[in-house]
C-alpha cells in the first residue's frame, strides 16, 4: 500500500505539474504563435533552443540550471538581490526547471496547430473588422483547440515523468522537491520493492491513460481543422 509519505510525493508531483503546465501554456502560446508566423532569422535559433531538452540528458540541463540559479550564478545573484534567496532545492526552483524541461512538448503542438490554421482565416477576420488580438481569441484559439489539448496533456504528463532535472535542481527534500520519480528511486535504493511497485504502477497507469486519451479520444477530432 501507499504510505502517507508516498501520497505526499504524489500530491507534490501533481502540484508541480499543474503549476508548470499553466506557466508553459502562458509562456508557450505567444512563443509558438511567434514561431509559427515569423520570417525572422532568429526563428531557427529559438526553435533549436526550445527543442534542446528533447535530446539533452536531463542531468545536463539540471547541471546548468543548478549553476545558473546557485549563489554564484547570474540568476542566483539576481534572486538574491531581490531578496528571494536562491532557487535550487526549493519548490519554485523545481517548477522553473520543469517548465524549461517540458517546454517543447507544449510549444511544438501549438506551433503546428497555428501553422496549419494559416493566413486565410486571419485575413477573413480582418476584413470583418476584427483586430489582431480579437482575431486571436475569436478565431485562432477555437481553431487551435485540439493543439491546446495535446499541448496540455503532453506538457503535464512529461513533467510528471521527469527525474534527472528534479534530482539535480531540487534534490530530495520531502514535501518540497521530492516528487514521485525520486521517491521510487529512494524505495529501490532502500530495497523497498513493494513500495516501489505501488508508485511505479501508479505512474504506469497514469501514463498509459494519458496516451490512450491522446490517441483515441483526440484522434476522433483531427488535430487541426481544414478550412472550408
Amino acid at each position: 500500500m501507499l504510505t502517507s509519505a508516498d501520497l505526499d510525493t504524489l500530491l507534490l508531483t501533481f502540484k508541480v505539474a499543474s503549476i508548470a503546465t499553466a506557466l508553459m501554456l502562458l509562456l508557450g502560446t505567444p512563443l509558438a504563435w511567434w514561431l509559427a508566423r515569423t520570417h525572422s532569422a532568429w526563428k531557427g535559433i529559438i526553435n533549436a533552443v526550445v527543442a534542446m531538452p528533447l535530446v539533452l540528458p536531463p542531468t545536463v540541463l539540471g547541471f546548468y540550471l543548478l549553476v545558473l540559479m546557485g549563489p554564484a550564478g547570474p540568476v542566483g545573484q539576481f534572486t538574491n538581490w531581490l531578496g528571494l534567496g536562491t532557487l535550487p532545492f526549493t519548490f519554485p526552483g523545481v517548477v522553473i526547471a520543469s517548465v524549461l524541461y517540458s517546454m517543447p512538448f507544449v510549444v511544438q503542438p501549438l506551433q503546428a496547430a497555428f501553422t496549419t490554421i494559416g493566413e486565410q482565416p486571419l485575413e477573413a477576420a480582418a476584413t470583418l473588422r476584427a483586430s489582431p488580438l480579437d482575431t486571436f481569441f475569436s478565431v485562432v484559439l477555437p481553431l487551435a483547440k485540439p493543439g491546446f489539448l495535446t499541448a496540455t496533456i503532453l506538457g503535464f504528463a512529461h513533467t510528471v515523468g521527469e527525474f534527472g532535472v528534479v534530482l539535480m535542481v531540487g534534490g530530495n527534500i520531502p514535501d518540497k522537491t521530492r516528487v514521485v520519480s525520486v521517491q521510487i528511486y529512494n524505495h529501490v535504493e532502500a530495497m523497498e520493492y513493494g513500495q516501489a511497485h505501488w508508485l511505479a504502477g501508479c505512474l504506469l497507469a497514469f501514463s498509459f491513460t494519458v496516451l490512450l486519451v491522446l490517441y483515441t479520444v483526440l484522434k476522433t477530432q483531427p488535430v487541426t481543422h481544414q478550412l472550408k
Binding site: 482565416p121 476584413t127 470583418l128 473588422r129 476584427a130 480579437d134 477555437p142 481543422h225 481544414q226
Partner: protein, 359 residues
C-alpha cells in the same frame, strides 16, 4: 457613394512589380481583368490593406485609407469594406449564422433585422443558417461569404475571383445572384477575374492589367474595343452593348431591341417589352461591307465608322468601329482589309452574323 476612387500603388518584389495609378468610378462594377501574374489580385489586396505597398495612395468615398507620403495606413480591420475571397474562407468552427454575425458585433451601425433578412434573401441562404460550413456546397459557401461581407454595409465590396474555384454548374448557380447584387445594391464593387464571360456579364467599367501595369481602363465597351490590348486580339474578343427590348415578332421567333446605336433583331427572348439586357457580339461574327447590302440573309446590318485598325501580323486585322454611340469590334482577314482598302474615318456597314444575350 459616388465619389471617384483614387488608387495608386507601387511595389517591387523583384520578379514582379506593380505600378498602377487609377481613378475608378464610385458606382457600379469595376472589373480588374488580367491573366495570372498580371497583378490584379495584388492590386485588390493593396486596396483592402491585406498587403501594404511601400508607395501608395488610396482614397475611397472621400476618406484616405493609405498615403505613404504622410505615413498613413489604415489596417484592414479599420477599413469599412467587404471582401470576398476566391475560396469562401468561412470560419469552419462557426455555423452559417455565426459566420454572418461575426462582423456585426464589431461595427457601430449593424443592419436592421429587415436589412439583414433582405441580404439573406438576396443570396438565397435563409435555409442554411443552422448548417456548418463543412456541409455546404462550394456555391452555397460562396453565397454565405458574399452575404457575410454585405451584412457589414461596406462602403465598397472587393471580390477576388469569387467564381474561380467553382465548376461551371456552380458558376451558373451564383452568377444570377451577382447580377441581382449588381442591380439591387448601390455599393461599388471591384471584381477581379480572368474570365471574359464574367467581364461581359458583370462589368460596367473595365481595367485591363498585364505584368503589374494598366493596359487599358475605362467604360466597358470602350475598353473592350481598345484594339491594341490582348483582350481585343483574343479569339473570343467581343463587345457588349446594353439594350432594351422594344418588340417581339412572334411569327419569326424574333425579338427587337434598341441600343445607343440603333435597333437589332435577335432570336426570340422570353421577356417583357422594356426589359434591359446585355448583348454580346463576338468580333469574329462581325463583317464589314462598303455599301449597304441589298440582298443579304443577315438581318443586322448597321452603318458604322472605322475608328481604329491594328494588324496582328498573322493575317488578321482587328477593327474598331463606332455604331451610333457604341463601340464595336470586328476581326477580319488582313487580305479583306487590304481589298476593301479600309482606313480611319471611313463610313462602312457592319453585318452582325450572331449575337448572344447575357442576362
Amino acid at each position: 457613394m459616388t465619389q471617384p476612387i483614387t488608387a495608386s500603388f507601387k511595389l517591387d518584389y523583384g520578379a514582379f512589380q506593380l505600378a498602377v495609378n487609377l481613378e475608378l468610378p464610385g458606382t457600379g462594377v469595376t472589373v480588374l481583368f488580367g491573366h495570372s501574374g498580371s497583378g490584379k489580385t495584388t492590386l485588390l489586396r493593396c486596396i483592402a490593406g491585406l498587403q501594404r505597398a511601400p508607395q501608395g495612395f488610396l482614397e475611397i468615398n472621400g476618406h484616405v485609407w493609405q498615403d505613404s507620403e504622410h505615413n498613413i495606413f489604415l489596417p484592414t480591420h479599420k477599413r469599412p469594406l467587404g471582401y470576398v475571397f476566391q475560396e469562401a474562407n468561412l470560419f469552419p468552427h462557426l455555423t452559417v449564422s455565426a459566420n454572418l454575425n461575426f462582423g456585426l458585433k464589431r461595427i457601430s451601425q449593424p443592419p436592421s433585422p429587415m436589412e439583414f433578412h433582405h441580404i439573406q434573401e438576396l443570396l438565397g441562404i435563409s435555409h442554411l443558417l443552422k448548417r456548418m460550413p463543412d456541409s455546404l456546397s462550394g456555391g452555397e459557401r460562396q453565397r454565405v461569404a458574399i452575404a457575410r461581407s454585405l451584412a457589414l454595409k461596406p462602403e465598397i465590396l472587393l471580390m477576388d475571383e469569387p467564381l474561380a474555384s467553382l465548376d461551371i454548374k456552380r458558376k451558373q448557380e451564383i452568377l444570377p445572384y451577382l447580377d441581382r447584387l449588381h442591380q439591387q445594391t448601390r455599393i461599388p464593387i471591384i471584381y477581379v477575374t480572368h474570365s471574359l464571360q464574367e467581364v461581359a456579364q458583370l462589368a460596367d467599367h473595365l481595367v485591363v492589367l498585364e505584368n503589374g501595369h494598366v493596359l487599358a481602363a475605362g467604360a466597358l465597351s470602350d475598353t473592350l474595343s481598345c484594339v491594341d490590348t490582348p483582350l481585343a486580339q483574343d479569339r473570343d474578343a467581343s463587345t457588349v452593348w446594353k439594350a432594351t427590348i422594344i418588340a417581339h415578332e412572334a411569327d419569326y421567333h424574333l425579338t427587337r431591341v434598341t441600343f445607343a446605336g440603333g435597333i437589332l433583331s435577335l432570336p426570340v427572348i422570353d421577356a417583357e417589352i422594356g426589359t434591359p439586357l446585355r448583348v454580346q457580339i463576338y468580333a469574329r461574327d462581325v463583317s464589314i461591307v462598303l455599301e449597304a447590302p441589298v440582298f443579304t440573309s443577315i438581318l443586322n446590318v448597321l452603318p458604322a465608322t472605322i475608328t481604329g485598325i491594328v494588324d496582328d501580323n498573322r493575317g488578321r486585322s482587328i477593327v474598331r468601329l463606332l455604331v451610333g454611340d457604341q463601340m464595336l469590334l470586328a476581326h477580319i482577314t488582313s487580305k479583306s482589309a487590304q481589298l476593301l482598302n479600309i482606313n480611319l474615318g471611313m463610313a462602312v456597314f457592319v453585318q452582325i452574323k450572331g449575337t448572344s444575350i447575357i442576362n
